[in-house]
Each structure stands twice: as structure tokens, then as C-alpha cells.
């Protein structure tokens, strides 16, 4: 193998020998300029790959902690806030580290960041869902990343990153539901709307139980039934299936993830069915038979 160093040494020796046919290549100055720029490019790319990896790892840890939450539609408990603080900070630092590398012309140059972006999106949307029981919007997510990127300018979160992250978030909602059903024996649901809370403070439990049986039971009272995770999952599924990704790599990624997403919703529906049919027979602590299949990793662009 001929390393660059050897060639430079060799070149110098040749110059000393002064042999006409072995004189330094006339193209050398040009290639030296290329070398400098390619080195800068590779440095940037390396930083971004590393940041993407670190963001991915930190996001996974955030998600892991979030899976221990048992409530919906209210601020996550203090242990989660405390436990995850360092990871949010890691992510922020990583975005700041690479912000300068992805400005202007280079905004789309390093697609290697997409892996980190998607995983972050998954963590962010899951966290957001647990607290508000709503789907975080693309604009808000994009803004969030931009804010974390600091003064050098925003790191771009593309619509593709967002969508693919949301697909993965469905998997987290599935796990969240299954775990809740296994430990509490019911599907997590949000709090009833304020109005109903005031009127039927004491009936909250009852209405939640009803929801477990069939969350589509038409509301008999004026009060709105709280939404369950399953109804939210179905709403998500509906939107994601309506979405047309077009062709190319993104289209392929979406189709792959769409299959996994459908399976996830199915799993929750099956688990709920099981709970409904043999709910009372179920010994406490029995876990529904759902294999924890992780989605196939879709590699970054």
C-alpha cells in the first residue's frame, strides 16, 4: 500500500535526483489545494457522524426512561425529568457541536445526521405525547432542534426525519400500552376534559374502565370520553397511511416502517382483545404475549 506520506518523501528524493521524467508532477499544487479541502470535508463529516451516533444513543436512553412513565396527559414524574436531564443536555451539546458544519451550502451535504435526527424525533414526540397526549407538530420539532443548535445557526430537521421518527414513535406507544395493560390491567387513557372532571370527579375510574372495553362506545353523557392510547394510535395510523412519500430512498423507508407501524397497532388491538375477553381471569402480573420485536433498523441515508 502506498500511503500519502511515502509518496511525498519519494517525491522529494526524485527532485533531488533531478531526473526529468521523475520530476514532481505539475499537477501537485492543484492537488494540494484539493487535499486541504477534502480534509476539511472529511473532518466535518466525521464530526457529524459522531454527533449523530451520540444523539441516537442519548435519545434511546430518554425513551427508555420514558417507558417507565405510567401516566398520560400530565407532566412526567420528577424521576424522569431528573434522569433524562443529562441526556437532553448531551443532545443539545451535540447539535451545537455540528451546527457550524451544516450551514448554508452544507445544509444538506451531510445526510449522516438523519439517524440522530430521527431518533431524537422519536424521543421528543414520545415525551410530548406523554405530557400532552397530542402529536408534536413538525414546525415545533424543527424549531426545537434549531433552538438547541445555538448561535451558529440551526441544524436542519427535515420533514423526512420527522415522519420517520414518528413512525418509530408508534412502536414506543405500543410498548407503553402493553406495559400499562400488563401492570394496571387497562389501557392508558387521558384525563377527561375539565368540564367532565368537575362534574363527575368520582366517576372517573368508571368511565376509564368502560373505555377499556371499547373505546368507541358512543358517549352517552354530555361529557367527552377521554381518549385512549389506542384511539390515538389509530389516528396516527390513519394519518401515516394517508401520507404519500413519493419514490426514492425515503419512499422505501416509509413503506418498510409502515409495515412495522401497522403491526404495532395490531399488537395493541390484540392485547386489548385479550384483556377484554379474559380480563378478569387474568392473574395479576400476567404479561400479554407480545414479543418485543424491534423494528428493523432503517439505515440512515
Amino acid at each position: 500500500m502506498m500511503g500519502p506520506k511515502r509518496s511525498r518523501d519519494g517525491e522529494m528524493k526524485e527532485e533531488k535526483l533531478g531526473r526529468a521524467d521523475q520530476a514532481a508532477s505539475p499537477f501537485m499544487p492543484m492537488f494540494e489545494g484539493f487535499r486541504t479541502e477534502l480534509d476539511q470535508h472529511h473532518d466535518r463529516r466525521e464530526r457529524i457522524i459522531k454527533a449523530s451516533r451520540d444523539i441516537t444513543a442519548a435519545s434511546k436512553k430518554i425513551i427508555f426512561t420514558l417507558q417507565r412513565v405510567r401516566t398520560l396527559g400530565q407532566p412526567v414524574p420528577p424521576f424522569v425529568v431528573k434522569g433524562n436531564a443529562q441526556y437532553w443536555e448531551t443532545i443539545e451539546n451535540q447539535y451545537q457541536n455540528i451546527a457550524a458544519d451544516v450551514q448554508g451550502l452544507n445544509a444538506f451535504r451531510y445526510p449522516q445526521i438523519t439517524g440522530g435526527n430521527q431518533e431524537f424525533m422519536e424521543a421528543l414526540s414520545f415525551h410530548h405525547y406523554l405530557e400532552t397526549q397530542t402529536l408534536i407538530s413538525y414546525d415545533e420539532s424543527k424549531e426545537r432542534v434549531a433552538k438547541m443548535s445555538g448561535e451558529a445557526g440551526p441544524v436542519l430537521l427535515t420533514p423526512e426525519d420527522y415522519i420517520l421518527g414518528i413512525f418509530d414513535m408508534v412502536g414506543e406507544l405500543m410498548r407503553f400500552s402493553i406495559t400499562a395493560m400488563a401492570t394496571n390491567g387497562k389501557l392508558p387513557a387521558g384525563k377527561p376534559k375539565k368540564e367532565s372532571q368537575v362534574k363527575q370527579e368520582g366517576k372517573e375510574q368508571e368511565s376509564a374502565d368502560k373505555m377499556d372495553v371499547d373505546e368507541q362506545t358512543p358517549a352517552t353523557t354530555r361529557t367527552e370520553e377521554p381518549r385512549t392510547v389506542l384511539s390515538d394510535l389509530r389516528a396516527l395510523r390513519l394519518q401515516l397511511e394517508m401520507f404519500e412519500p413519493g419514490g426514492g430512498k425515503f419512499g422505501a423507508d416509509v413503506r418498510k416502517k409502515a409495515d412495522v407501524m401497522r403491526e404495532c397497532v395490531d399488537k395493541v388491538e390484540k392485547a386489548l382483545y385479550g384483556l377484554t375477553v379474559r380480563g378478569t381471569e387474568r392473574p395479576k402480573g400476567w404479561v400479554p404475549e407480545v414479543r418485543e420485536e424491534r423494528r428493523p433498523e432503517v439505515e440512515s441515508y
Binding site: F34, E37, L105, S137, Y138, A235
Partner: protein, 240 residues
Amino acid sequence: MSAPSGMIDPAIFEGLQSKVDEDTTVRDELKDIVQALEKQNRNISFVLSRAHSTPFADLPNVLKASEEPIQNAIETVSKLAQAASKQPYYKFNQMWSRQVQDALQGILFWAWLGGKDYDGNEPKCGCLLTLEELGETLKVPTNLKDQDKFHITIEEYLLALTSMVEELTRLARNAVTLGDYERPLLINQFVKDVFAGFQILNLKNDILRRKSDGLKYRVKDVEDVVYDLSLRNLVPKKQQ
């Protein structure tokens, strides 16, 4: 309507859908131009490949015949530049990078044969267009850093250069077949000079690295030709 209200603001997915649809429209527009360029590249290489079977004395005919396809490619690249500059450069550049490289390679080879600024006399072989000169020929900017517009990148230039070296390696052998013992020497020196340049680059494990790794075999191929010639005393004397 079947989606329970509250979970998802429908505007989210409407917005995303329209963003993705816009990109699809851009892709379609670019695709047409890129396909046109691909066809013109084929025309260029069709004409220039005659250099392999044309004695040096008749080379001007090849150069003349190549003018039109090259001009066509230049125009298409300008059109591509115009359309592409409306978008962030690196968002779509993988759509055309390959075809632009092919066009660059054609023009590099054509210039090496003496086609650039050809005055009708004996063509002067052996020149290497720099990235900037290529940009001038194609009438597009090169190696931009501060502007997010269409341009030719260093990588595209270097990749085209490796393909051009392959073409020259072929030419070295074919020149001998045609009884031309001078061009292999010229090619030998040229290929070595290019190879020396590539050796000082710190390449990562990517396409450029693979292509540049292949150069040493091309150097060897051409050296073999020169060796065969010198062994048989066929090397023109004044060159030594």
C-alpha cells in the same frame, strides 16, 4: 373524520404532504434534464471513442465531429444549473452527480486530445483542464463555498479524472496498434503525474478512494506498454 379529534392537528400532515410533493415536482423537472444530459454524454463518448481507432493524423476529424455533442452537453448543463440553483445544492445533487461526472470526463478527454481551443493545425495532446477551466468550458461555477448554488465539486472533478485515466490507458495500447509509439510515452507521463497527485490526498473509505486505488493498475498498464516498446527499441529516440 373518523380520527378522534385532539391527538393530531390535521394541518401537520397536510403541511408535510405538500412539502414532500413539492420535492417530487422538483425531482421530476430535474430528472428530464439529467436524462437529456445522459443521452448527450453517450453521444460524446460515441464520437470520442473513435480516437482509439484513428491515426494521429486524422484526429482533427474526430475533434471536429465532437464539437456538436459537446456543445449540446454544455447547454444542458447550463439548463441543469439554472433549475438546480433554485434548490439547496446538496439536497438534490446526487440526482445529477453521476451524469455531470460523465460529461466532465468526456470534456477532459476531448481537451487532452487537443480539442479545446483547437486551431485546425496539429492537435496538441496531453493537457489537463483544471477544475476552473472545466467550469469555464461548461459555463458553470466550480467549487463554491459561500453560495448555495449549482457548481462542479472537487469530488466530481477527481472522479471524472480517474475515468479519463482509464480511457487514456486504453488509448496507450490502441495507439501502439495504430503504429503510434509516441503517444504511449506522453500518456505514461501524464498518468504518472495524475497518480502522484492522487497520492497526496487523504481519502476516506468512499467511492473516490476506490477509484483512486484503481489508478495504480492503470499506471502499471501504461508502463507495460512503454516497457514493451522500449524492449523492442520502438521508443522514438528524441523522447529519451
